[in-house]
Amino acid sequence: MAFEVKLETFDGPLHVLLELIQASHLPITEVSLGAVTEKYLEYMNSQDVPAEELADFLVVATKLLLLKSQAILPIEVEPEEDPSTLALQLRLYKEFVDASRTLEERFDSGAWSLARATPDIVRLELAEVVTNLSKNDLHDAFAGLLKRLEPFFRLQTAALERVISVKERLREIHDAILSRTKMTFRQIAQAGKSKVDVVVSFLALLELVKQRAVQVVQSGVFDEIEITRVD
């Protein structure tokens, strides 16, 4: 599976965020996070984020957008979605990233220890095969194994389905905005089923602004975002 290989080497959303902040020589604070929000969204748009990780990237995008302007997004902030958690999370993550450098150095240094190549047990020679297993135990164990593998098989199918839905959502929003001359972001966002949908909608909107297909006006901090088609 191609995407698995990719996933193994793909940096997670926090890593991307950390690099953006460090590249701007900023401390890890809420203000800095707000400042790199656009760059993070750009990264998401430009990189082929693996299906498996897209949802996690979107969760971070949600938090960033909440942080940057809670007024823009017409959704209630639940306590556990407190965006200031993101700065804390990132500061903690950085500690582990720093520690991983020490481990990497040790791993690469050649200073390993080795176990004894072969045990002496081979010389024990247990005289005969002794077991209280029955053939049914073997059967049940294999059946149990197949059952245990079920989620693993499902996981891979589900991941692909999710990508399709995200892509479809993007197109739907493009179409919705372009089919009318004027609408509000609230109207788009309310059609979404989840917070992830809202973020996808916002990403789609940013993309349209960038393409100069629409103009966006917001008259006051907590006012509606009005979207006008550019003809």
Partner: protein, 183 residues
């Protein structure tokens, strides 16, 4: 005498042996085993000794001294294990410093789903998975093999080990975010 037997057993077995198995099969108390193991570690884990005692996950194993690791590997023509990707390395670091740790906790710190990385690290033998009876879900710890690959006999020999174990940011984050995003 118990100490001599333990030394001989660990030498012959050539793999990690659980302290609980030593206690059970040698039919002595936990204290006697602990004392003997500490005595062995104190005598063997010195710079001049070619053989060291490694302890992790409640199991002990004799390994060669990492300080002369390069020379030994060259003599035995042992090759280094393949490189680690950054995501794998990050995950291993979190498990080394905070293990035994659950998958949701690892994912909270990394901010990303870790199923596949955990599976690959399990296959590679760098981490172990165990069912935690209290938390009712699997927990992960680094294995003796990983400690061998980084050349430390015990996890608490890692820099800042204690600081990480008691890191209040982790505690705070775990309390703030009761359930990490399931995808």
């Amino acid at each position: 005498m118990v100490t001599t037997t333990i030394e001989a057993v660990l030498f012959a077995a050539a793999k990690p042996i659980k302290l609980s198995d030593l206690r059970k099969y040698l039919d002595v108390s936990e204290e006697v085993i602990r004392e003997a193991v500490d005595d062995i570690a104190a005598r063997f884990n010195v710079e001049a000794s070619g053989i060291h005692l490694m302890e992790q996950n409640g199991a002990v194993q004799f390994v060669s001294n990492a300080g002369v690791g390069e020379a030994v590997a060259k003599f035995l023509k042992k090759e280094a294990s393949g490189p680690l990707t950054r995501p794998s390395l990050e995950t291993l670091t979190i498990i080394a410093y905070r293990g035994p740790i659950t998958k949701p906790e690892i994912e909270m710190i990394r901010g990303v789903n870790c199923s596949l990385i955990l599976r690959n690290l399990l296959i590679r033998g760098f981490i172990l998975e165990e069912q935690d009876k209290e938390r009712l879900q699997p927990v992960y710890s680094v294995s003796h093999e990983f400690l061998q690959a980084i050349g430390v006999n015990r996890l608490d020999a890692l820099p800042d080990y204690e600081a990480f174990r008691t890191n209040e940011k982790v505690t705070e984050l775990l309390s703030r975010e009761p359930d990490t995003q399931e995808i």
